[in-house]
Symmetry: D3
Subunit: 252 residues, 6 copies
């Protein structure tokens, strides 16, 4: 039994509130237990220098935490004058994950900027960010289609992320909260598509190691968790669901 | 008649949602029309170097906007590696304003960190930040009292802020939204106490000037607006209201 | 009686030495009591990106203090690698103030750079900077006219600034020096035009507040002080005075 | 057949030249094909603030590439004034990996600084860095033992890293060089111990995805590659090998 | 004949105005032709970390130019967020030069901060800075003696600097102004003591070279120039001259 | 007798290993005793803004030390976020020295980037960098000629550098190692051409001074040292030697 009463294979409650903000082309507030992240998607009608003239689009992400998203106040990266390694790692991961399901040529020469701002943190902020960002991005891109800026919907499949881990006692668990994450011996973040394929798999022993058998068991826990998240994304996306399915079958 | 149907002396709808976040000692979400700011107050049990050993406390503030708080995405100050002049100006103003109503000796050698994060901007973000921050700070400080960390409540009076301005056509108006602010000839931000005294008055002609008569009329508009904000603060603060009143009469 | 023998409504001795430096298009050394600021105006034949192609010009300002302008040596902002909040606030104020009296369309697509470098500080450096910068800017712009780069003189009116304040004992005084400024309960900086209109009004209670009546009395003190400064500017500007008057009557 | 004639499961030639530099406590030049990295380990007799007084040691790493390690000259991070996201990601990975096999309590309150400087890059610089850094660290720590600074050798097991990947044509290959890495659909970096347990597993689809079956096949390729690297490390370490084996059996 | 009518071995007019500023312990305005530098010396009662507890003092220097010291406005190093290579080179030179004539043990554990701020530049700003800084430093240190903070005057000898150079036509000249400096084939800066010994000699061919014979002729020109500067320093220092002579004979 | 048995006028053993790295257009590993520097030359087909359209090329240099090039680990300049004064001074010196022997017009509108990375430091890193960089640059430029990118070889003469110094005991010595350099009273770095002319001469008293006679004796020591270095460069350059000689006689 876990400290909050969950079984090993049970994720936390998840809600995705769409159109959370007025200005962005796509925006959600995703809650995974007490973790809350505002994810927005903004369309910019140009691409980074290395893509100019290529006809291809780009997706990039930035991630941040409010100073009091955490139990102890953390210093703002703007005040310190630089972005830390953890933040860089996370925002590179979010961008890379999104690009895996976007047909960048179909997107055309424009950039989707993903912003994930954690307003409350209780473990799993990077996976919640990816799961929420996918919905925000889908909404922003669907808007381009409905406004005839894009002829075809360019997103190929669903994409969600979850963490799994091994406790110090050796229990394998799904969707770690902060208390569990701080004490975990192994921590693994997995990003998968609706088709059940991997986009990213990052397993880390925290001054510890893990066996191949444990790796396989962790992956299985994650698969269950991600399927449930994708159902919640479907509900949140409403009619956009059809567009994703259509793109998927076009590709196949 | 104003573009949103308000009369010249009418402020926008204001709500203050208290205990908005789980971790901070005090937190609110303040909405002033479409402007939404998360204000938190954090207690740190030490003071900046220049106050060490003085027995006196400190209040300081940081302010930021999410990239898509605005119609066009703005770059993060953390990514650019420095805090801009506008941000510095605002956070210095918020800190200074708070300190005007706090008995820093009664606070003891601790710092109240105010964080104002604008999640949606539609004009008046600095005045909404001050109005919300006062509530968050009062809650954090009341918690110190209820936990016996502080013997006496150290806040002397209410504090709220509003903007007033002169349109290009010469109309004087209360509580400008973004559309009005962008076009205003004169912009004035006023911070006042519950007793109706000024803490800060910043009037600026935007490539324009204003007369003494106009200044007086603007100040009168602001007084009305601020009284209404203080009533909303009272409702939000509930039983803490009595503590402020007690401190006020102790001081008198 | 004040510590240096001045009456409450008496400003310090002011001198403005024009053509102080060899290279700038306009330059002065302004002394206000022991406060000494070198103000220069430089013409650059281009504008910031947001104005390109608009036919309109710009005025911007930078402000700095030599390390030993002050009683204790202060660290250079260049060595610390960033410009502090106080500096940013002041240089934004100087630029905004200048723009209020310049017809930016008549200036054409060029930028006037104002540099204010405090070589000796004894209170009132920002107001001395504004008063001196106006003279330097007028000289630089007059040079453009005399060299036929500009057809019409684009400055509409005089502009000067002064500080007023309330002492801890409640006395209202004009033109605070460092000793008075450090101890003041209320500090107000006022920028006005030759026509007696406000360009900027910034009143701040330093852990204190002020009433409407006090505000009015402070403004009256400032009006007297500014009229005197404008007379000194007129003397310094010599024949350029006629050009300002001509522009003023053209506008009227 | 691969572009350089290797079979899918064949790693490149590896050499580890020990005591490569005069000053560091441990140093190697590791060559993996044309990839060459100088790895040094330095002992500092203090720990970061969060460990002071804990009796526990620390291992941390920094990584850099010479500007012409690459085909095109890259800008120095020192000249640009900040460390990029890729560099941060890699140096965090190296440090975390090392810590997984070090008994930090047995190390005592001292820090091992790992520096990995790539002098020539041809793919796999991060895995070569880990493999080389392990040898440099072991030598530096063995020196502490031989100088009686440490009573017991604190490293529990061997540690090495390799990359595996999937080509665009779907072939799974071991130890990608630059040409292969640039074109790969899936890229996976794996860090393992001598006992064959995982320390880190990072698989990334580059605008592509991978199945569970592919993941398993990639992991198997990596296991083969890492065993060979550990044999080369053993040869390089000479008599230190006994100390690692002793620590391993003490722990078991 | 030179462009300003000087003969090859003639330096420009030099004036040194002492006690130029109110606050610093020592300050001068030095003018060398049209080059004008404010040099100040500040005493700080502590030393950098590497000297703490050594009983020895330190002298360090900072150098800067006002944006319009030059014909074209240069960007402020504070706004650009970093100090350029030329500035660093010059301030390191000034500090090193000063230390060559100060008995750092006799100075005791305190730092002399030298600040050289060029308000007008016309060639030779680094040599004017050294010549002026020596006077400011001597005054600051003499003040320590007269206030009984120091028992013995710690400066051993005079110190001054001058530039010499070779024109494109091969003429060897003393004390180059900006026009000459810009066109010079060889530029040499020489710092010497009152006793005629070298402290620093920096000769540079600007896309050109120089022979041993030319080097010797340049050094002879410099010797003449420096003797004249030291006489001007003596006049400026007045009674402090005796203290330097006394220290000199004590040392001998 | 010196601490390592050398006579006063004897330089350390020097080797220059050419084509040390795979990717750069020119690269060497130069060893001067225990000092080892990787010098590379990279060709970039554009010039800095101030030369665009001039038809003229440019040579610029960057210098760095690995953290454990030294006895104590030094912090990376990339991690500290800025390049220090010593580094700037050295890289400016290297670039300037190279330009003195390159016919920049004959080079055409391209930049030669010199990178000097010290992997092991034992005194004289800047002079070893210059001596090695000359060889790397010559190789890169010869490659442009052999690939018909350049019609004529643009390097006019050999260029090498050495340090000389005065010990505390007054002995004048050639090519100081770290132990000697740390204790030297006078330190002089000299850059000369094959024709025996000076390009740069930097003599510094370290809290000490030197006479004209000592200066002359030091220069003579340097001349001997440099001649020997140029012979070693000739051997390293092989057939490129003829190209330099040809250019030299063309110029004459």
């Amino acid at each position: 039994m876990r400290h909050d009463g969950r079984t090993a294979d049970r994720g936390r409650d998840v809600t995705i509130e769409t159109d959370y903000l007025l200005h962005p082309e796509g925006s959600v507030l995703i809650s995974v237990g007490n973790t809350k992240v505002i994810c927005t998607a903004s369309i910019e009608e140009r691409v980074p220098p290395f893509l100019r003239g290529s006809g291809q689009g780009w997706v990039t992400a930035e991630y941040s935490m409010l100073p009091r998203a955490t139990g102890q106040r953390t210093h703002r990266e703007s005040s310190r004058g630089k972005v830390g390694g953890r933040t860089m790692e996370i925002q590179r991961l979010i961008g890379r994950a999104m690009r895996a399901v976007v047909d960048l040529e179909a997107l055309g020469e424009r950039t989707v900027w993903i912003d994930c701002d954690v307003i409350q943190a209780d473990g799993g902020t990077r996976t919640a960010s990816i799961t929420g960002a996918f919905v925000a991005m889908s909404m922003a891109v669907a808007k381009l289609v409905s406004e005839k800026e894009l002829k075809k919907f360019p997103i190929r499949d669903y994409l969600a992320a979850v963490s799994v881990g091994k406790t110090e006692e050796g229990m394998l668990i799904l969707d770690l909260d902060y208390v569990e994450d701080s004490a975990a011996a192994v921590d693994m973040n997995i990003v998968m598509t609706g088709a059940g394929e991997f986009v990213e798999l990052q397993g880390t022993g925290e001054e510890a190691t893990f066996t191949r058998q444990e790796m396989n068991a962790l992956v299985e826990l994650a698969e269950v968790g991600i399927q449930r998240l994708i159902e919640i994304q479907q509900d949140a996306l409403g009619s956009i669901h059809e567009q994703i399915k259509q793109k998927e079958s076009d590709e196949a």
